[in-house]
Subunit: 313 residues, 2 copies
């Protein structure tokens, strides 16, 4: 392939896959590809989907993607896969096999893990979003399997964030609800045919009431049964409603400026991290430091100060 970025811009799906692989594996050409694609970004609408494991996020995302397709939109799905560092992306494989979406040329599905990573997952996800954006996809889902801080940070970067919950989750559900209350623009109770859906909806409503701060957008709490295709059009309609809302009140611009800022800092962190690892780890210098730290001749705080003085202007 002559020039991967050119091919991505021409709509070559293989080039799209190659570009994301280059990002994921931190290949040398990744930065060059991103530089070339960057001017062509900013057109796609980015939807974040998060929630606890077992909430049926993948199924729901797939149904939503189909609904967007039936409305004439092309769709990208980036599934953040916390297991990739271990399993090498087995889940995506399973997902593709089971998924008739994969046969649709208007859909592009990709999982992102931290496999082989030196830098962070969040700037890689941001770059993958940009590649799909430049490719010309209309709507991009960023779906996180985890409920950890890094996953929350990732979906926070979306234009609109939806939190998926299900009735009757164990002990930690209060914790999860508290944690996600402030990031959800939309809440969807999936598996709403199970016992406890109304109770969960009432609880969420109460928590949103208690949230106190006057907001010009009250997050709707929707119900769906994704695997029976129930509630899907309503969710997509609500996405559109939220998008129109934040376009009109200027919040979309604010969010995207914030995103650009955070992405720049993430990228800088990752690149400096690479530089530091190169200087310390690849050179083997770190082993001497670690021995001195372990034997308590010195402490990590003193060593880190010294290293920074040597590295930074």
């Amino acid at each position: 392939m002559e020039n991967i970025a050119d091919e991505v811009l021409k709509g070559n799906r293989l080039a799209l896959a190659k570009a994301i692989t280059a990002i994921e594996n931190e290949r040398e050409n990744a930065t060059e590809i991103m530089k070339q694609l960057y001017p062509h970004t900013g057109n796609a609408y980015v939807l974040g989907i998060t929630g606890p494991p077992g909430a049926g996020k993948s199924t729901l995302t797939d149904k939503l993607a189909k609904e967007f397709r039936s409305r004439g939109k092309t769709v990208g799905i980036i599934a953040i896969d916390p297991t990739s560092p271990f399993s090498g992306g087995a889940i995506l494989g399973d997902r593709i096999r089971m998924n008739d979406l994969a046969m649709d040329e208007g859909v592009f599905i990709r999982s992102m893990g931290t496999r082989g990573s030196l830098g962070g997952l969040s700037h890689k996800t941001a770059d993958a979003v940009k590649v799909m954006d430049a490719f010309g996809v209309d709507v991009i889902f960023v779906e996180t399997v985890g409920v950890g801080q890094s996953e929350v940070d990732i979906v926070k970067a979306a234009d609109t964030t939806m939190v998926v919950l299900i009735p009757g989750m164990g002990d930690d559900i209060q914790a999860i609800k508290a944690g996600i209350l402030e990031i959800g623009d939309i809440f969807t109770i999936n598996k709403a045919d199970h016992d406890g859906a109304d109770k969960l909806q009432t609880e969420l409503n109460m928590m949103l009431d208690l949230d106190g701060v006057m907001k010009d957008w009250r997050p709707p709490i929707l119900k769906a049964v994704a695997n029976q295709n129930i509630g899907i059009t309503e969710v997509v309609d609500t996405f559109h409603k939220h998008r129109t809302h934040i376009e009109e009140n200027g919040q979309l611009t604010v969010r995207r400026t914030e995103r650009a800022k955070n992405e720049m800092l993430d990228l800088l962190d990752a690149k400096i991290g690479q530089y530091v690892r190169h200087k310390l780890v690849d050179s083997g210098k770190i082993d001497g430091y670690v021995e001195e730290i372990k034997s308590r001749k010195t402490d990590p705080y003193t060593v880190v100060n010294g290293v920074m003085e040597n590295m930074l202007k």
Copy 2:
């Protein structure tokens, strides 16, 4: 309080709490405290507890802590709380209220979040472990609520890591199992009185068999019903067994060297991140960059390269 570190070393519980708060909030005195405490670390045994939300990790950890207490050990518990950035640690409050452990002078419980954070959670957790270690606690539990990458990284840093699962978790359980297979030294199926416990045990055994690589430690798969105090002594016995095993084969030293290395790199990342944010964000310089990026006059990759050239020697 004259000198927090001195007071920690004398066994002052209030000083211990203050030291961890200083770390969590990145107070100016945090590094000085850590430098003073560092020479007194290395004696505690660190146990990582992870697993999906709803697995009953808190209850299990509390029962294990009681068992260690009944064997004459003092215990520290650090609960990594992904909701703290949002909710201000409400969970810990709930936990303390419900928890008779909090009345025991031989137990110290603390939650860690990313609230108010500029740096990462993982170096703060590492520092909190060291404070408890220097304080003189025998066993330290690091318990993560999430299943995300950052949480996994945190428990990976333990001497022994236990993964807690429960029967009959939804769609994502396969994903979780794949992800945690390689980090678990011990697996415990909690709520083992529920349907599906035997099935889960069989599946885990099969996955461990398929894992292929010859290992000198086959992770045991235990069963427990934490809220009925069933299986607790066996888990603690297995912790001891694993500890003896890795002490004898030298793996403990290897793990601790690896931990010291990763902690140093984490600390360096966090400190450099602080420095970068200070230089760019606090000075307001970043806003100009972001505007140029947003208007597509330049791209983030070019900006980051330029910033690095200006900052690094």
